[in-house]
């Protein structure tokens, strides 16, 4: 307890001297209004860590989610991450004491467990909750990071880079007939419904999502319903424990058009809460409308994007 009070005083002591700095009020995903002194100098990120290499804010990050240590992009952009930036748990399991010790002036976390956020706030920590559910919301999250870290121009640049890739996709697929694209999550009967970024992406790459009338992010549906939708193309989430061969071999799926034509693919294991969303979209578009992207080299495009957005070369090409 004494230690917590001490840490609290430290946290206060840190905030008070910077009172002359500009202060902004942010309305976050949970509808909370948080006023924050900017630019933020000691942030702890539980979710949006892929934005750190994109915005170039490594020097402002004092703590990070345990999951960041496993993230391929983070490992390449900051190989010594484990030594440089301590972890204070994950978005659902936060070690509050370790967090207090880092004296953060801002914590960014996903809007999933309000009681965790409340626990941090009751100890005087400023918390902003994010949970982008559409492309527009993702851009807002990127802009918010730009504002908080005083990197507004870079944030706009990152968004322009993403829009550049997406515009290229839009222009190539706009005259093509739409194809029915079904996205499968961790289980073949868990699909992408009408909410969430995945649904937006299917639209952008020239597809229609047959499950979009279900207003939910990851509804579980019956195999019969999938048969009824009869998608032209099936895309599997990159982190799923099954692959295209499991779907193609299963006789229950044999009547579905995508299976008959062998159009079942597994996506790269990339987050869509990141600028990498643009590359996921490109990958999807090249699967949905391969004839529109003849001669385009995904690897080269990805490498260009990685270098300009994250400042590192793209190395995962062999897997795609």
């Amino acid at each position: 307890m004494a230690r917590m009070i001490f840490s609290l005083i430290c946290a206060m002591a840190f905030i008070v001297p910077s009172a002359h700095a500009r202060s902004i009020t942010v309305k976050d995903k949970m509808g909370r209004e948080v006023s924050i002194e900017i630019p933020v100098k000691r942030a702890v990120l539980f979710e949006t860590y892929e934005l750190v290499p994109a915005l170039g804010t490594w020097d402002r990050i004092v703590g990070i989610s345990r999951w960041a240590y496993e993230n391929t992009l983070i490992k390449e952009a900051m190989p010594e991450i484990r030594k440089r930036i301590p972890s204070v748990g994950t978005g659902t399991n936060v070690n509050i004491e370790a967090l207090l010790k880092l004296r953060p002036d801002l914590v960014i976390i996903w809007a999933v467990r309000p009681e965790v956020i409340q626990a941090m706030e009751s100890r005087g920590i400023k918390v902003v909750a994010v949970y982008p559910e559409s492309l527009g919301e993702l851009y807002e999250v990127i802009r918010l990071h730009g504002k908080l870290f005083g990197k507004e121009r870079r944030a706009e640049e990152v968004i322009r880079m993403m829009e550049g890739v997406l515009d290229l996709i839009r222009s190539r697929v706009k005259d093509r007939a739409k194809r029915k694209v079904l996205w499968l999550w961790s289980k073949p009967t868990r699909v992408s419904g009408g909410a969430g970024i995945q649904n937006d992406l299917i639209g952008i790459v020239g597809g229609t999502n047959p499950a979009s009338y279900i207003r939910s992010r990851y509804p579980e549906v019956s195999l019969e319903r999938i048969s009824m939708w009869d998608p032209d193309l099936i895309l599997i989430w990159g982190n799923a424990r099954y692959g295209p061969e499991d779907i193609l071999r299963n006789p229950q799926w044999r009547r579905i058009k995508a299976v008959k034509e062998g159009k079942v693919f597994k996506a790269p294991e990339w987050s869509t809460w990141s600028p990498r969303l643009a590359l996921v979209a490109l990958w999807m578009a090249m699967k949905v409308h391969p004839e529109a992207f003849k001669g385009m080299d995904f690897r080269r495009m990805a490498d260009e994007f990685y270098r300009s957005c994250f400042g590192i070369p793209y190395k995962e090409g062999s897997k795609i």
């Binding site: 961790s186 509804p219 579980e220 019956s222 195999l223 019969e224 009824m228 424990r241 229950q252």
Partner: protein, 344 residues
């Protein structure tokens, strides 16, 4: 003495009553009803035509694939799992003479959950079902051995060790859930919510073998359950090797429930409730109670799964349906008839 007498006297059969006939054919009726319901719109005439086409092998239209590869195996699997859970509940309630006992009391579900979590988190080359099945049997074996003393295995210590083993494995599952990344965490959570959404012929085949191996011995020993459920002293007085017979019954139901759980996850309420319902309707004689529980469990599970897959655009986790539909009905019957079915 009087209760012993009552059970022995009731052995004189009075012929099948209408309730028993109704319950016996209920799985078939439920299955036929379920055959006509589903997300894929198929008219009743088309259902019959598809089945005819399938049996005759004359044609392969999309409807045949939906009915034969998706709907029928799912109905059969639900029936098998319902039968396994409710026969196991019936056996354990009889052995332990305790109405609160369900198939998971000895740690089988938490063992299976641990097996699933182990496979997903650390041993991806071991299929989840196999790992879950082995760990569920390991859990129950552990519970049994913890309860064993020099004088044998007493009922109370078995229930207590089952609770302890459950708690232990549940904690281990939580520990794994804490360690793994969110994607694997999601897999574990989804698996633990029971569901028949991936049912196919090979899962029917595997479940069929495991559940048959488990339920046939129970079925053949149902006479002995009457004696075992009278209590240890009375059973011994009648010359029954209580320890051995109890072990055999528990081992058999473990194979059935272990198989069911490893294929469809943990589905609550069925194993607890169905034997009670049957007991209230047809009396406590295990010679009829057990087979009727099997039939009732199968029918109930088929209907619950039909609701799960046919009511909304979603495929609702079956455990939600079993609890939502079962609990109020159960309370109603309980209030109407009290615990008279227990013959006390």
């Amino acid at each position: 003495m009087s209760s012993t007498e009552a059970v022995l006297v009731s052995h004189t059969r009075k012929g099948l009553r209408y309730k028993e006939v109704l319950i016996s054919v209920s799985p078939l009726m439920a299955a036929i009803f379920a055959l006509f319901i589903g997300a894929y719109d198929i008219s009743p005439g088309m259902v019959l035509k598809s089945i005819a086409l399938w049996i005759s092998g004359l044609g392969d239209i999309p409807e045949v694939s939906v009915i034969v590869d998706i709907r029928i195996p799912r109905i059969i699997l639900a029936g098998l799992v319902g039968m396994a859970l409710s026969s196991s509940g019936c056996v354990l309630q009889g052995i332990f003479r305790n109405p609160l006992v369900d198939p998971y009391i000895l740690g089988i579900s938490s063992g299976a959950a641990f097996g699933c979590a182990l496979s997903i988190a650390f041993f991806p080359w071991i299929p989840v079902q196999i790992s879950a099945f082995l760990m569920s049997l390991f859990a129950i074996l552990l519970a049994y051995n913890v309860a064993r003393t020099r004088v044998g295995v007493s009922r109370l210590s078995l229930v207590l060790s089952g609770v302890a083993v459950s708690a232990f494995f549940t904690a281990m599952v939580s520990a794994i859930k804490f360690i793994v990344d969110p994607h694997k965490l999601q897999d574990i959570v989804y698996w633990l919510m029971g569901s028949f959404s991936l049912a196919n012929w090979s899962s029917v085949f595997i479940a069929g073998i495991g559940i048959t191996v488990g339920t046939v011995p129970i079925f053949l020993m149902r006479w002995r359950l009457n004696v075992l459920s009278m209590g240890e002293e009375e059973a011994k007085a009648l010359g029954v090797n209580v320890g051995l017979e109890r072990f055999l019954l528990i081992a058999a139901q473990s194979v059935a429930v272990g198989t069911a759980t490893s294929i469809s996850g943990v589905i609550g309420w069925v194993g607890l409730m169905v034997p009670h319902l049957i007991r209230m309707a047809c009396g406590p004689d295990h010679r009829t109670l057990l087979p009727l529980s099997m039939a009732g469990g199968a029918a109930f599970m088929i209907l619950a799964d039909t609701v799960a897959r046919g009511m909304t655009s979603f495929d609702i986790p079956i455990g939600i349906i079993t609890a939502l539909s079962g609990a109020p009905f159960f309370v109603y019957l309980l209030r109407r008839s009290g615990a008279e079915g227990w013959g006390r």
